[in-house]
Chain length 382, copies 2
């Protein structure tokens, strides 16, 4: 069909092409998880659905390694989780120390400012972890600080920061911690209670290998106390924790309507978490580490280097330097057209300079690593 013919043809069912997803997310989704989303829709207040919600909360607690009562998936993308943390915890005039070592730290700054807060930035180069000493200096000099916010696993750069040290600093200086664990959850250790983190959000389309569209969050008692003590209403009705919890926290008949839960998407998340614990959380971390090592060896074999220093590399998100003289977009198109393999482009400051190869969840397998390295080598040559 020509473009004009297509425009006039009636729109029919969509059949997605066969892809292998090795970009920065979504990751490959197991057929068990997509099949779960195809189960019959039931009511969002159905007693059986409510039972599944309780299971989901428990599964997420285990994934986050927390006993936080308030642990549940928000009905939107990871950026909804980010916004929920900031609009609930930040009031107009509050100061938040924001660590910015990639694109998502920049979003945190936007979130603080749109909630009426003042962001004190601690900048590090893209590809470096957050510098803990610089953060301490900022906390010392910033006066009263409402929260310290940082990205655990920067999807835009592939750098892993020291969440334990940063959360400990927050505690030392009497401030709350807000942690972006979108790309880390399920792929590297996330220890919400071990770190003493206060507000943590994640996404489903990374190492949980679930379709995108939900944002698991967890809040400590200290975070909830801060929300309860607010002098101003939360600026978002949709994300007001007080309202959302009447639906997610209520028990049985006391559960009240706030929004209509994305029923089928929650089936998928439930199934992906069941699969995560069938494998075992520590086994999942080990698999990500092992196949990352294999990927690095393979990339070295075709002359490619990673952006991030070995000590701070995220196993699940690898930023690979584009060799001089290579059109990175053309290589990605060859991979997509010839192999059906999707890898990611660089974002922001790294656009045109790196590829991002995701080994997240189901994408992280022996066959995917081997195929990706071989195909990438061929695509660069061609």
């Amino acid at each position: 069909m020509t473009t004009a013919e297509r425009r006039n043809a009636p729109i029919t069912s969509f059949t997605p092409p066969d892809r292998i997803l090795m970009g920065p997310g979504p990751s490959q989704v197991h057929p068990r998880v997509t099949a779960a989303s195809a189960r019959p829709t039931i009511g969002h207040l159905d007693p059986e659905f409510v039972r599944m919600m309780d299971e989901l909360k428990e599964l997420l607690r285990q994934a986050f390694r927390t006993r936080n009562d308030v642990t549940f998936p928000l009905p939107g993308p990871g950026s909804m989780g980010m916004e929920a943390c900031f609009v609930n915890l930040v009031e107009p005039g509050d100061t938040v120390v924001v660590c910015r070592n990639g694109a998502f730290g920049g979003r945190m700054k936007e979130n603080v400012e749109r909630a009426g807060g003042k962001a004190v930035l601690v900048d590090d180069d893209w590809g470096k972890p957050v510098d803990v000493a610089k953060v301490e200096a900022a906390l010392k000099s910033a006066g009263t600080v409402k929260a310290l916010a940082f990205v655990h696993a920067e999807t835009s750069t592939g750098a892993l920061s020291d969440a334990a040290a940063l959360c400990a600093l927050a505690k030392k200086y009497g401030t709350l911690s807000i942690v972006d664990a979108v790309t880390s959850l399920g792929g590297v250790p996330v220890e919400v209670d071990g770190w003493g983190a206060d507000a943590v959000y994640s996404g489903t389309q990374k190492c949980l290998s679930c379709p995108p569209g939900l944002s698991p969050v967890t809040f400590s008692e200290a975070a909830l106390a801060a929300v309860a003590k607010r002098k101003t209403p939360v600026q978002s009705w949709l994300l007001d924790l007080n309202l959302i919890l009447s639906y997610w926290r209520g028990t049985g008949g006391a559960r009240s309507y706030h929004h209509t839960a994305p029923v089928n998407a929650l089936y998928s998340l439930h199934e992906s978490l069941v699969m995560l614990f069938e494998e075992g959380l520590e086994n999942s971390w080990a698999r990500h580490r092992r196949l990352h090592d294999k990927l690095v060896v393979g990339l070295k074999g075709i002359g490619l280097e990673l952006l991030v220093e070995p000590a701070h590399r995220l196993p699940q998100l690898n930023t690979v330097k584009v060799p001089a003289g290579i059109d990175e977009g053309k290589v990605r198109r060859v991979l997509l057209d010839r192999y059906g393999i999707e890898i990611g482009a660089g974002l922001g400051a790294l656009a045109g300079k790196v590829w991002r190869i995701g080994l997240m969840g189901q994408s992280c397998s022996e066959r995917h690593v081997t195929l990706c390295v071989t195909a990438l080598g061929e695509a660069i040559k061609s």
Copy 2:
């Protein structure tokens, strides 16, 4: 299993019970639509996915009866669509006339106030349509008004308001119109261009018969001009139209990343819209009207009356008065346990006083109406 045994057992895959959904939403989902959500996840920037997004926008334009360029599904529940309209159009200090004749008008007031605006309320009894004359009086006396906001189809009461007249009033008084079409889209005429409506939001889990979790929205050029002229940034990063449109409006390579689209949920919406146009939009409206009439006759036969006057009844959402001496919750439990039929309880002011029977989308069929009436009659007797 006892509760204690269940608590200690590992959590396994969830299998939903077999239900017939005749509440206020979600409605029954056709197997074609759930099957669509089980198709393989692909990247949210994949060229084939981008082509599907373009089709989705066109399908939604046809459903909303508009040529608005900015017509797309937001990645969250209907309340996200509501919030997106208010936070983009309302600036601190703006006055908004809000029509409140049910629960969702009350939410609109909350949204206006949390965006820093002043809500001038036009109240009507629950179960009545919005009184157009009272709205005109409010517009005359309220000074400069940024927007007139109303609910076309009140899901909490089953009343249909005169959207054409209300949008015409907005035009006459030089103000924007914000229309809640969550329950109306697909079930009764929604004529965005015919009305001259400026910002309209809907949901997927009502007459589109798609799982919950997306909120189709459409914005007129006048609405977009108002967003462009804002003096203050939109308070929500996630819902800032300027940012979202860089992803949904961009063409091909110019499309930039904002959030990760809920890929599989969008497959479902695409399929449900394809099915809607296979039937024909007018045919869908006629089916809802015809089977509503059948339901009313059936309910009369078992001695039940509707809350709303015939002229203002929503065919797809029927509020049925609970007869004196009947425990409405018990009746719903009998329906659910014996028949697997879900009908809805009353909300807010109508709690305990009505049932809400939804005939939305796939729930609106001869067999469902007949079964529901017979089962309800038996449940009341027992």
